[in-house]
């Protein structure tokens, strides 16, 4: 454990620099640069909210806020795990030549996605201000939820990164999983339109709890349900444990397969 911390401290600059590099590369040669991290979620929200206001209708108060809160969180998940998934295979050149702790790569991708998410919160703030959503003390839950969600994404990212090294099929499969996950999570529809049969399925979806609690704290100004917060905690801790365990067990063999 001591060794782990020492190693992490020694490589913290690497983590920082890799994140900064991704940031630079992402916005290189784009005119609006980092503004896209704010504009993108805003435009996406507008498109989807137009679709669901004129074509399908749900009776949700402050639908735009409801939507953008869910969308940005889901985007963080899909962006972080998707890039973590190929982080090991994509860093083959580095891993083959220099020794460094390999978890740095998925961790860096999740961190980078989190930075982007944090920037997109500006868009969320704008939408909330526009619809005059009152802020309450329940906002104190936001950092807790985000921290847990970060751990959840990191765990999933570690798991996917390790598995992808051995089976590249995961890459294609995961796209499908993500699509299914979008529809199984109440992002653009209210949770209570689901039939009684589907309800238990949703309750097993950790993402539902994260998004729902987040909306509680930010949009509805109510204290998140204790049991639901527990579900967040358990799924974050569980996912991180599984991901770290699989990654740790397999990491010495990565180099033979990349």
């Amino acid at each position: 454990m001591k060794k782990l911390i020492r190693e992490f401290r020694q490589h913290s600059f690497l983590l920082y620099y890799l994140t900064a590099r991704d940031f630079k590369i992402k916005y290189r040669r784009s005119f609006l640069g980092v503004a896209w991290s704010v504009l993108n979620p805003l435009f996406m929200m507008i498109v989807v909210s137009v679709v669901f206001s004129y074509i399908f209708r749900f009776n949700i108060q402050h639908f735009q806020v409801y939507l953008i809160l869910g969308q940005t969180l889901f985007n963080f998940l899909s962006e972080s795990t998707n890039s973590a998934l190929s982080s090991i295979t994509g860093s083959a050149a580095l891993i083959k030549k220099v020794y460094m702790p390999k978890y740095i790569f998925p961790l860096e991708k999740v961190l980078f996605a989190f930075v982007n998410y944090a920037i997109s919160l500006v868009a969320v703030g704008c939408v909330m201000a526009y619809y005059r959503i009152p802020l309450t003390w329940n906002l104190v839950f936001v950092p807790v939820i985000l921290l847990l969600f970060f751990c959840f994404c990191l765990g999933l990212g570690l798991f996917l990164a390790a598995v992808t090294v051995f089976f590249r099929d995961v890459m294609h499969l995961y796209t499908v999983v993500l699509t299914a996950w979008t529809y199984l999570t109440p992002i653009f529809y209210p949770a209570d339109i689901l039939s009684a049969r589907l309800k238990p399925v949703i309750l097993c979806n950790p993402l539902y709890h994260f998004i729902n609690n987040f909306r509680c704290a930010v949009l509805w100004g109510s204290t998140p349900n204790g049991l639901s917060m527990l579900a967040c905690f358990v799924s974050a801790a569980g996912m991180l444990a599984i991901g770290a365990w699989v990654f740790h067990r397999k990491q010495d063999r990565f180099i033979l397969f990349i």
Binding site: F13, Y17, L18, R21, K97, Y99, I255, L256, F257
Partner: protein
């Protein structure tokens, strides 16, 4: 025997590669191989039961023909590969120059790559900032700092890689063929730097096909042949034996 005086201790290290399963790229192939029971068959031994101890401050050379396992052994020593069996003990900080431009991103400029490569080697930001000028000066690349490194010649990349790795006084420096690139002026410069480091107590491990270079620099040499350790000893003896192979 004093443990303290050894920088590197390699104890009965073997490295096996599983050729059959290395080519597997998807589930279908995996199951086909599984059904055919070809999965864990062809075993390739890259390094076979090598043991050696390198003392602190020693300059150690490794010679051998192509594919004899030299680079694999270096990768094991520097921790990139985990040996299948056996252990490696290292005392001190390693600066590996395993391949040219280890950890360079071709799209980034030289300036950015100095930081990236420094970070990869575990330097802090402050340390790189302090030594940035020294690195550039040693590599003599002042005029090309903001050019993406993909436009560099391999010699220029080698210069910068060498400059970054040796700016710190590493306890152990691992050099794989890197001295054979760059013009003769730069080679001389590198050798001078290695001599400087040696007098400062750095342990150096060199792999080279140039026997002359090995003879000039090394205290002791190991001859690796067909994954096995053929001979270890004073430079003159081993180089003599290795030369006679050609006859």
């Amino acid at each position: 025997m004093e443990n303290e005086s050894f920088a590197i201790r390699v104890d009965h290290v073997s490295m096996h590669f599983n050729i059959a399963s290395e080519k597997l790229e998807n589930l279908k192939e995996y199951f086909i191989k599984l059904v055919r029971r070809e999965l864990f068959f062809r075993d390739f031994v890259a390094v076979d039961d090598v043991s050696l101890e390198i003392a602190k401050g020693e300059v150690f050379g490794i010679v051998g023909t192509n594919g004899s396992g030299k680079s694999t052994l270096l990768k094991i020593i520097s921790g990139i590969l985990k040996p299948t069996t056996g252990t490696v003990q290292i005392d001190g900080k390693i600066a590996p120059l395993i391949e040219l431009g280890a950890g360079f991103d071709p799209d980034l400029t030289a300036r950015e790559n100095v930081y990236l490569n420094g970070a990869v080697l575990g330097y802090s930001k402050k340390f790189i900032e302090q030594h940035f000028d020294a690195i550039i000066e040693f590599a003599e690349l002042q005029d090309f700092l903001d050019m993406p490194i993909k436009n560099y010649s391999s010699g220029m990349v080698a210069r910068i890689a060498f400059a970054i790795a040796t700016v710190i006084k590493p306890d152990i420096l691992i050099v794989d063929e890197i001295l054979s690139v760059g013009d003769f002026m730069f080679q001389q410069k590198c050798e001078k730097r290695i001599a400087e480091l040696m007098s400062g107590g750095t342990t150096v491990v060199i792999v080279s096909h140039s026997i002359e270079q090995i003879e000039r620099l090394c205290d002791r040499v190991m001859w690796l042949e067909k994954s096995k350790m053929c001979m270890v000893g004073p430079t003159a003896d081993v180089c003599e034996a290795y030369r006679s192979l050609a006859k």
